[in-house]
């Protein structure tokens, strides 16, 4: 019975979660772009000329119906990968994305093996 109640609430809970809006969020993009003339600030946080210009360009592209990925691709084409804070998945960066998960699995495996040893006695 208790399990049923929990399942009921769980389903209810997640049904309330709205479907993701499909509007491109300009603020999210600004936060993912580096202000190239600042020392470690995003376009969202910076007040510099460059940041203001990029904001205009990104807003225009959103109006033109470009997707988030298209906007990033455009900016990477013009300014290099350094401008985006989320490293795109490619030959150079795949290690960066892969290694943490490898470590996570390895850690779990080590702990698991520690018990295997005990069980085998």
């Amino acid at each position: 019975m208790r399990i049923k109640i929990i399942i009921f609430f769980t389903i209810l809970n997640f049904n309330i979660v709205n479907a993701e809006t499909f509007l491109v969020d300009s603020n999210k993009i600004f936060k993912n772009l580096r202000c190239l003339i600042c020392q470690g600030q995003s376009v969202a946080d910076s007040n510099s000329e460059f940041a203001q210009t990029i904001k205009l360009v990104v807003r225009d592209q959103i109006k033109d119906g470009k997707s988030e990925k298209e906007i990033y691709d455009f900016l990477i084409e013009k300014y290099g990968e350094w401008i985006v804070y989320k490293p795109p998945l490619n030959k150079v960066n795949f290690l960066l994305w892969l290694l943490p998960y490898v470590v996570f699995v390895a850690g779990g495996a080590i702990i698991f093996l520690l018990f295997k040893k005990r069980e085998n006695r």
């Binding site: 208790r2 609430f9 309330i16 007040n47 943490p100 470590v103 520690l114 018990f115 005990r118």
Partner: protein, 628 residues
């Protein structure tokens, strides 16, 4: 005159450091049981001199003695008194002196407080620690000497960067240094332990209070840095995964893992070599962090001014430290048999370590990866918040559940969990989450999981707290820290999902309306202050629904020494939320760019971290009462 005093004391301390090492080796070889008295005396002199040396530099700042190079480069006669003092450590050379003070004082105190432990272990700790001290002293004297003289004496200083003139930033380095510089002492103790085969429970007992001290202060230091970033840097965030922030977080992960493993070592005499690895790792990470931040190898918001020779020295020092400790460890490592039940407290502590190491490696990887891509492929990449958030956040869900269940587990073999209770807590968490969504608004799937698991941890900790209260056992430190951590994640999750950010351009007199809020640009005036001019804007914020009517006054400050412009956010901090406005001018236009933010629960985020650290201090005082 001050420079002479300072330099003399520094050279004296090098001599004292060498004599400590010499006398310690002598003492090791003789058959006496006790550490010889003159070693204590030399250590006392060492600490006294370095404190006087530091106070000399502080004096130089207070009286604005510009013949001292550090004072000249980082101060100005018009600077407010409090910031003249904090300017002492707000620069590379001065902060190195702070490093050395912590290294020295901890060295002496560790010697004093370990009288119940074997002489050779204590002496080797002292020797290794003094090697570290000598390393930093020579770095200071020969590369980054704050007491270098400038002739002729300049009439005025270059001033301290105005964004560093902030109370949170003033205490941030001292707090942080007691943290990760303090970890040097258990690095040295770990090496001493390997050399003298002094292991197990007794070793754990020797270092545990030091780990607690450094962990608690490190937590507070990180908090101070975040508070500074929030109030001062003007973007409304408190964590940016910037290399400097990561450099303070990496030792914290190692310390937290160490803190937990020490419990196992002390209680069950297991995991000795793992504890050693963590001891060595923490300080190695501290020095690595220092290297990354001061060498100029990484680009960051708040780096010190850069100088490649510094980087070279620190890297050489770091390499020697790493090779020496790794080779010694390989030499002394003995495989032990573990007899762990999969359902036991030991396992849950290992799980904590597993997650801590995972976070550590993720953050380390993200921070140094750009260096590798640039060196190996001539390609510049950025690794920022999206990377860290994507990798780390999902695992936090699991981590919070383990944190709730782990402490309940018993040693060696856990009796059957109270599954019933766990299900009830889970149901309650889901219900509360559902209520939040129903009453306010919904959020992403991941946020749901995070908030549910955070509430789960909070409820389990509250139940624990109640149980403790009933049985009148006063060991509340663990519960407080875990409870506070649950709250921290909860409030961060809620803050993230219920924040409102609006970026728009306004002219004086105009008003912007959005989502029941209206922001009116009411006034603009110019004011003169002691060391800057300010353009102050008045913004009236209204919310018809919430009966809100407040004014905020963001500023654009124009400083002369050094010539900088800063944007001061105007923040109205409330119990439930903060209102946050920054204003910046748009060149060649009458418009100002306004960023308005509503940030819920900021106060609670800060409070949660304070309570996490409080748990550490509580445990420390309890231990101190018991032992001394």
């Amino acid at each position: 005159m001050l420079t002479n005093i300072g330099n003399t004391l520094l050279f004296l301390n090098i001599f004292l450091g060498i004599s400590i090492i010499y006398f310690s080796f002598q003492n090791l070889r003789n058959k006496k049981v006790l550490v010889s008295k003159n070693i204590y005396h030399i250590c006392l002199f060492q600490s006294t001199f370095i404190i006087i040396c530091f106070l000399t530099l502080v004096t130089g700042f207070i009286i604005s003695d510009f013949s001292i190079i550090t004072v000249y480069q980082n101060s100005h006669s018009l600077k407010p008194f409090f910031y003249k003092i904090s300017g002492t450590w707000g620069n590379h050379e001065g902060s190195l002196l702070l490093w050395i003070i912590i290294l020295t004082i901890f060295s002496f105190l560790f010697l004093l407080y370990n009288k119940n432990h074997p002489k050779n272990y204590r002496l080797y700790s002292l020797i290794v620690q003094n090697i570290l001290i000598l390393g930093f002293l020579s770095f200071l004297l020969f590369n980054s000497n704050p007491f270098s003289i400038i002739l002729p004496t300049p009439k005025e200083g270059l001033g301290l960067n105005p964004i560093l003139q902030d109370p949170a930033l003033a205490i941030h380095p001292p707090l942080l240094y007691i943290g990760f510089v303090g970890s040097s002492i258990y690095f040295s103790a770990a090496i001493a332990s390997l050399l003298t085969n002094y292991s197990g429970r007794l070793f754990a007992h020797s270092i545990k209070n030091w780990v607690l001290i450094s962990w608690s202060f490190q937590t507070l230091g990180i908090l101070a840095g975040s508070i500074w970033a929030y109030y001062e840097l003007g973007w409304g965030g408190f964590w940016f995964w910037d290399p400097v922030e990561n450099a303070s977080l990496l030792p914290w992960f190692a310390m937290t893992a160490l803190l937990h493993s020490l419990i196992v070592l002390e209680k069950r005499n297991l995991l000795y070599f793992w504890v050693i690895i963590l001891c060595l790792l923490t300080f190695i990470l501290s020095v690595t962090g220092t290297f990354l931040v001061r060498s100029g190898i990484l680009n960051s918001v708040h780096t010190f001014a850069n100088d490649p020779s510094r980087g070279l020295y620190i890297l050489v020092f770091l390499s020697l430290m790493i090779f020496a400790s790794v080779l010694l460890f390989f030499n002394k490592f003995k495989n032990s048999n573990y007899n762990l039940n999969s359902n036991s407290k030991e396992t849950f502590i290992l799980i904590n370590n597993w997650f801590m190491i995972f976070y550590l490696i993720t953050v380390l990887l993200g921070t140094i990866y750009p260096i590798f891509t640039e060196v190996l492929t001539d390609h510049k990449v950025s690794v920022g918040p999206p990377f860290y958030n994507t990798v780390i956040i999902p695992t936090v869900i699991l981590f919070l559940f383990f944190m709730s269940v782990g402490p309940q587990a018993q040693w060696i073999k856990n009796k059957f969990h109270n599954l019933n209770l766990l299900f009830k807590i889970l149901a309650a968490s889901i219900f509360i989450n559902f209520s939040i969504i129903y009453l306010f608004k919904s959020y992403s799937l991941i946020s749901n999981f995070i908030i549910i698991s955070a509430i789960f941890l909070v409820i389990s900790s509250l139940i624990d707290l109640y149980k403790l209260f009933k049985t009148q056992k006063m060991d509340s430190s663990r519960v407080i820290s875990h409870l506070a951590f649950g709250f921290l994640i909860l409030f961060i999750g809620l803050n993230y999902n219920f924040s409102l950010e609006k970026d728009f351009n306004l002219k004086l007199g105009e008003r912007e309306k959005f989502e029941n809020y209206s922001v009116e640009f009411k006034d603009l005036r110019l004011e003169d202050f002691k060391n800057y001019k300010a353009v102050i804007g008045e913004f009236k914020i209204n919310n018809s629904q919430k009966n809100l009517d407040q004014s905020l006054y963001p500023e654009i400050r124009i400083y002369e020494n050094p010539s900088t412009i800063t944007y001061e956010a105007s923040i109205r901090s409330g119990l439930l939320k903060d209102y946050y406005i920054t204003m910046s001018n748009i060149d060649r236009s009458d418009y100002y760019n306004i960023k308005f933010q509503k940030k819920p629960f900021m106060m609670w985020i800060w409070m949660s971290v304070i309570f996490i650290s409080l748990g550490g201090f509580l445990r420390l005082f309890k231990n101190a009462k018991k032992d001394y």
